[in-house]
């Protein structure tokens, strides 16, 4: 696999504000890569450096094998971008804006354009100033997908879309992936990334704090297991990797506990000794992944709980 995007040690400051502080990011060709982080963590700044709209202070950046600052125009012909907050020209219709953006990118597939407009239920005759935020977003999405780009850079693309359109968007990105395109999908909507992404990078305060496939990341977290047994469970708490054992219901002997990714087997073996009546396991969600990285911050703000005592999955 070749790398579609490689970033290492990227720094970018605006005046005294340090937006990116040694960020690393690696996106393989043909994968959907989730780019996660809270607001203000530097996702949009990174993307704008990848597009050559901002110049890196230091660090190495390559997109499709080229330097995005020096070769911006050649690069832009091979990629399509959807900003998180789309601004349209008040006097141009949505259809005109789609054509403008797609043709300046180097080409427009008329049939694909018509199909996308239909699927996203967009009225292309309205003037830019008459569109709601969701509709402005659709204009940019249609423009990006109607041209044949090998890399899609999407910065929180579905902000403002309703759940129905969100589903359409997921279908369309799935098709793009099937067609062999590379997608960088920035988001703070975890469920969306979970459904679409092969791999994710989590960034925080301008630095990548974790990167890998969802499977790899889950390995690092705990699965929550809720179990009802015929006889009361004993000796579970002393097993390695088991945390937060609690009895949920005294009458039925229902208990809940969290277990480290590599220790599930041992815990379940133990449970079989007591006769399992029912077992529910919650895989770790990205919310939990995020909480592991931002939990200290949340705890400091007085919201939620520290990650170690976290028992309830998202």
């Amino acid at each position: 696999m070749t790398k579609a995007i490689t970033v290492s040690g990227l720094h970018k400051s605006f005046g005294r504000t340090r937006a990116l502080d040694g960020l690393d990011l690696h996106v393989e060709s043909g994968e959907v890569h989730g780019f996660l982080g809270p607001n203000g963590s530097g996702k949009s700044t990174t993307i704008r450096v990848l597009l050559g709209l901002l110049r890196a202070d230091s660090g190495a950046v390559q997109v499709l094998g080229r330097d995005p600052w020096a070769d911006a125009v050649e690069l832009h012909r091979r990629l399509a971008y959807v900003p998180g907050d789309v601004e349209l020209w008040p006097g141009l219709t949505g259809g005109e804006a789609i054509d403008l953006l797609a043709r300046l990118r180097g080409g427009l597939d008329g049939r694909r354009r018509a199909e996308l407009i239909e699927r996203f239920d967009l009225d292309p005759t309205k003037k830019g100033r008459a569109y709601s935020k969701g509709n402005r977003q659709k204009v940019a999405i249609v423009a990006a997908l109607a041209s044949d780009a090998e890399l899609l850079v999407l910065d929180e693309p579905t902000a403002g879309l309703d759940p129905l359109m969100e589903v359409v968007f997921q279908d369309v990105i799935g098709e793009a992936k099937a067609a062999g395109k590379t997608v960088l999908l920035s988001s703070h909507i975890l469920a969306q990334v979970e459904k679409l992404a092969d791999r994710v990078s989590i960034i925080r305060l301008g630095r990548c704090v974790q990167s890998g496939s969802l499977g790899e990341l889950r390995h690092l977290t705990r699965t929550t297991i809720e179990v009802e047994t015929e006889r009361p469970v004993t000796g579970l708490a002393v097993l390695p990797g088991v945390h937060d054992l609690r009895t949920v219901d005294e009458a039925t002997g229902r208990v809940r506990f969290a277990v480290d990714g590599g220790r599930v087997d041992g815990a379940v073996r133990k449970l079989t000794e007591f006769g399992i009546r029912s077992l529910i396991s919650h895989p770790p969600t990205l919310e939990e992944l995020m909480l592991r990285h931002y939990g200290d911050e949340l705890a400091a703000n007085g919201h939620g709980t520290a990650p170690d005592t976290e028992g309830e999955p998202g």
Binding site: S44, L79, P90, G95, R103, G302
Partner: protein, 553 residues
């Protein structure tokens, strides 16, 4: 969490009082608007005040001898002179105050109107267009609070200017310029400001677009100026009575000190403001009274080229300025014939004109008019050249520059329209002036002369574009400094002739290097040099833009 619960709690009494009050929150919005305008309005007021005081003070040396004043008054007594200044009645008095009022009120009233219109649109339609008004209106703020606050801010600015002018002029201690006259002088400006602020209160209701709302109100100011110019220069002064600028000039400060024309302004202002409030209830927040028509679902091939796209964005402003300058040129052209007749009999003027360079009265007057037309064209050129910056800060450059469009081609499209459009606008001004001038003088040869004279200013316009581009490329936060070029050109080119500025001040302006056709001879050297300077500045500016970060939302 605690702060979030107490804040609404403390507001609760205000909310219950405000229940059905359409003006609730006005006072807060006024304070907020004044806070946002804390630099802008003082700069406006200071510039208007200082230019008036400096002009009045210069009279001390300029017209120290009563005979100079008499000459000045006699010199203004021509249709052309009256069209550029004000009604003839001022000429019955040759005091300092009369001369000042005659020369200045017409122009400063336009500028005060501009200040007032922009204040109103800035705090009403611009807020709605950006969606900020929606957020504010969702709080305890009444339906009419935004418009009321915007008008209050404009009224406040106008009144402060009026008082500063009144006491400033009276404080100069010029002979005959007493406080009573100075008060009328000051409030004449405020009255003009009020009328045009109220006009803007109506225009912001019609279109959903700030640019359109400001443009319509500015067109009303322009029409008011043209009406009074036509009325004052002709036999029949009735046209001037259709113009608020004509009214305030007819308060005759220092001559008759009449207050009632100013009351007329007040009545019209109140009526217009009331109409604005009523109309605002017939539309939704963010919408205009004029419904939106559906447009084309696809883009034409021309739209998707950088220049075609830029032309589309500039289209409205380009046609507006083109039409306006053509009409303005035609207006001056139509009085060109009278200029000769009226001035021919006055010996002093003829002698003075012979000293200038032996050209005729018509040519000298035409050169003077050309300066005014060029300054208006320069205003267009600055607005057009700053458009890429406006697109950039609005976040609309980002998606385009993420396509196969390079920064140079994107900015180049806008600049091509600024450079070419500026030239076209200038050509139209020359055509209007030339056609009407040739008709009024009966000299068909004037048409090519005047068109040529107008086009001679094109290289200076290009330099103006160049200055704006350099700021855009290297000092994007300071782009508004480009306005210094047309303002300076006006001060030096127009007022400088009255106030007799030294030559080096003229040379600082690109317009000062253009041969004053048709009075002077054509000299290609400065035109070629200006073109080279313009090309250098544009290249330098684009190089800066390629190097810098884009400003993103």
């Amino acid at each position: 969490m605690t702060s979030a619960t107490t804040a609404p709690g403390t507001r609760a009494p205000a909310a219950s009082v405000a229940g059905g009050n359409a003006l609730a929150g006005t006072r807060t919005l006024i304070r907020f608007a004044l806070r946002r305008d804390r630099v802008r309005l003082p700069v406006w007021i200071g510039a208007l005040l200082l230019s008036t005081l400096a002009t009045a003070n210069s009279f001390r040396t300029l017209y120290s001898d009563p005979q100079d004043r008499a000459n000045a008054v006699a010199g203004a007594d021509s249709p052309a002179g009256l069209a550029l200044s004000g009604p003839r009645h001022y000429l019955t008095d040759d005091g300092f105050g009369s001369i000042l009022s005659h020369q200045m009120i017409g122009f400063t009233a336009v500028l005060v109107g501009l200040m007032s219109v922009l204040a109103v649109t800035r705090h009403t339609r611009a807020e709605e267009e950006t969606g900020r008004a929606e957020l504010v209106r969702s709080t305890v703020v009444g339906r009419h609070a935004h418009l009321a606050a915007a008008l209050s801010v404009a009224v406040l600015a106008d009144l402060v200017l009026a008082l500063l002018l009144a006491f400033g002029l009276a404080g100069l201690g010029l002979e005959g310029m007493d406080l009573a006259g100075s008060l009328v002088y000051g409030f004449a400006h405020a009255a003009a400001g009020l009328v045009f602020a109220a006009v803007a209160a109506v225009t912001v209701q019609f279109t959903a677009h700030t640019r359109g709302a400001s443009g319509t109100a500015l067109a009303v100011i322009g029409a008011a100026y043209v009406l009074r110019a036509a009325g004052d220069s002709g036999e029949n002064g009735a046209l001037s009575w259709l113009s608020p600028i004509g009214w305030v000039q007819r308060s005759y400060p220092y001559v008759d000190n009449r207050w009632w024309p100013l009351l007329l302004c007040l009545v019209v202002a109140v009526a217009c403001a009331a109409a604005g409030f009523v109309l605002s209830t017939r539309r939704d927040v963010g919408a205009g009274l004029r419904p939106q028509k559906p447009g084309s679902p696809t883009a034409s091939a021309a739209l998707t080229t950088p220049v075609g796209f830029a032309l589309r964005l500039h289209r409205g402003m380009l046609t507006g300025f083109g039409t306006g300058l053509f009409l303005m040129g035609a207006m001056y052209g139509s009085i060109l014939g009278d200029a000769e007749d009226m001035l021919a009999g006055i010996d002093e003027i003829e002698e003075a004109l012979e000293r200038i360079g032996g050209s005729g009265v018509v040519e000298s007057f035409a050169s003077m008019v050309m300066v005014v037309l060029t300054v208006v064209a320069a205003v267009y050129v600055v607005m057009a050249a700053l458009r890429p910056r406006a697109e950039e800060t609005a976040g609309r450059a980002e998606p385009l520059l993420a396509t196969g469009l390079s920064r140079s081609r994107w900015a180049g499209g806008h600049l091509a329209v600024a450079l070419g459009g500026g030239t076209v606008v200038l050509l139209l001004a020359g055509l209007g002036f030339g056609i009407a001038g040739a008709a009024s003088t009966g000299d068909a040869g004037l048409l090519p002369d005047l068109v040529g004279a107008a086009l001679a200013y094109a290289p200076a316009l290009w330099v103006t574009v160049g200055v704006a581009v350099v700021l855009f490329g290297w000092f994007p936060r300071a782009v508004q400094a480009a306005w210094a070029v047309p303002v300076y050109a006006f001060v030096v080119g127009y007022l400088g002739q009255i106030l007799r500025f030294p030559g080096w001040m003229n040379n600082l302006s690109p317009f000062g290097h253009v041969p004053r056709l048709p009075a002077a001879d054509l000299d290609w050297t400065p035109l070629l040099l200006l073109t080279l300077v313009a090309a250098g500045l544009v290249g330098l500016g684009l190089a800066g833009f390629r190097r810098r970060d884009l400003d993103l939302k």
